[in-house]
Symmetry: C2
Subunit: 212 residues, 2 copies
DNA sequence: TAGATTGTTAATCGATTAACAATC
DNA sequence: TAGATTGTTAATCGATTAACAATC
């Protein structure tokens, strides 16, 4: 990309993508920023500003072609490619993610799942056999992995993170409750479920529900 | 609370709480905003500004008492109370959350889990029997529920959301991939895993990893 | 007392919204 | 052509950072 896109914009893209998908499903072929803004409960100005970070996708007097815009955002999000993923930590969350079919549909393919627990090793999760984490380095040397999903306790997460970075993994989807330190070219996306739940309990107990 | 606290501040509180917990575990009794800022990789100014939204917890020339600050943030986050939760949708994610013990440790108690699938109804998840979703309204009429966790497909989510709001539930932890419309006094906290993964694929494929 | 560090005001920076000329 | 709606610049708003007097 040319100029720096702010994180706020990036985080809104999946939501645009979802709404455009819904419009497509409903057979709507064109949409103005105004109409979309009403549906999404944001300003039309913000939509146009956001999109214009990436190109001129609309047409004056007409609006946007839903299908075209959908395809463009898909490309922007990198969803025109496929990704190889491994899950490290085959506990509750790790197994749930492995079982969730929608990720595969979008091009995120789980090709390996690892754990330290001997009672889990060998178990079969949707066609993937849980492997001993000792085999991780070997596996990474013969498979090209785009994203490692870290669903393990935080102490182990830090250690494993080191290993996978050395093996060249550039994307980390981190579910463990710790901040991972990584080089600049390694991207970490955090899902801190506990933090999310705490945010909810804050809002519930602060009694200030003006406009969350 | 007196004045309006910005969402940006609220979202940072759980992270402060986590770092203070770590400090406590390491036997550190006092910390300055400067020291903490280095550990957390934020500015000292931001830490002081954030905390002063809620009170004057520090002491000039000394810094902050770790234990006191930890306890205060705990209260601010509403973690000095306990919450009754139900899980609606006993699929992969729903079961994973029910099985995850750390939530209970923090005062979030799962006291019911529901599904529509007859093959799941009756199954036992950590002592909770999966109930028929037909029994939901009855259950809500005799139990006080603070938070409903929605881990079901989006079409069902919208319908169920309506029901639980009518039954007086004020907190929703929404894992389904849809924006729920709710009255002002009902708080929704979203966990959109697919969006999170798309953000990661954006960053990976944009090639612009300046400072995410 | 002198040094350290807060709480808070002021300055800066960035993100959102408004406005409008360009143009389909 | 007239109406609609974009892309983009300018104005506003809010959040972050810097500075410093107060004070432990």
């Amino acid at each position: 990309m040319d100029k720096k896109i702010s994180l706020a914009v990036i985080k809104r893209l999946p939501r645009y993508y979802r709404y455009l998908g819904d419009l497509l499903d409903n057979g709507i072929t064109r949409i103005s920023s105004k109409d979309l803004s009403v549906r999404m409960n944001v300003t039309a100005s913000q939509i146009r500003q956001d999109l214009n970070n990436f190109g001129c996708f609309g047409q004056q007097g007409y609006g946007y072609s839903v299908e075209f815009l959908y395809t463009e955002i898909k490309k922007i999000l990198g969803l025109d490619k496929t990704y190889n993923l491994i899950i490290i930590g085959a506990g509750n969350i790790g197994q749930a993610l492995a079982n969730y079919v929608n990720f595969q549909k979008r091009g995120f393919n789980f090709i390996g799942i690892f754990d330290v627990n001997p009672r889990l090793i060998g178990l079969n999760i949707r066609g993937l056999e849980i492997m001993d984490i000792d085999k991780l380095e070997k596996f990474l040397s013969v498979n090209s992995i785009d994203i490692a999903v870290l669903t393990l306790p935080k102490n182990n997460a830090v250690k494993v993170c080191q290993t996978i970075i050395e093996c060249g993994v550039k994307g980390i989807w981190n579910f463990s409750h710790v901040d991972l330190k990584t080089p600049d070219d390694v991207i970490v996306e955090n899902v801190h479920l506990t933090d999310s739940l705490m945010t909810l309990s804050y809002k519930l107990s602060s009694g200030d529900f003006s406009d969350f």
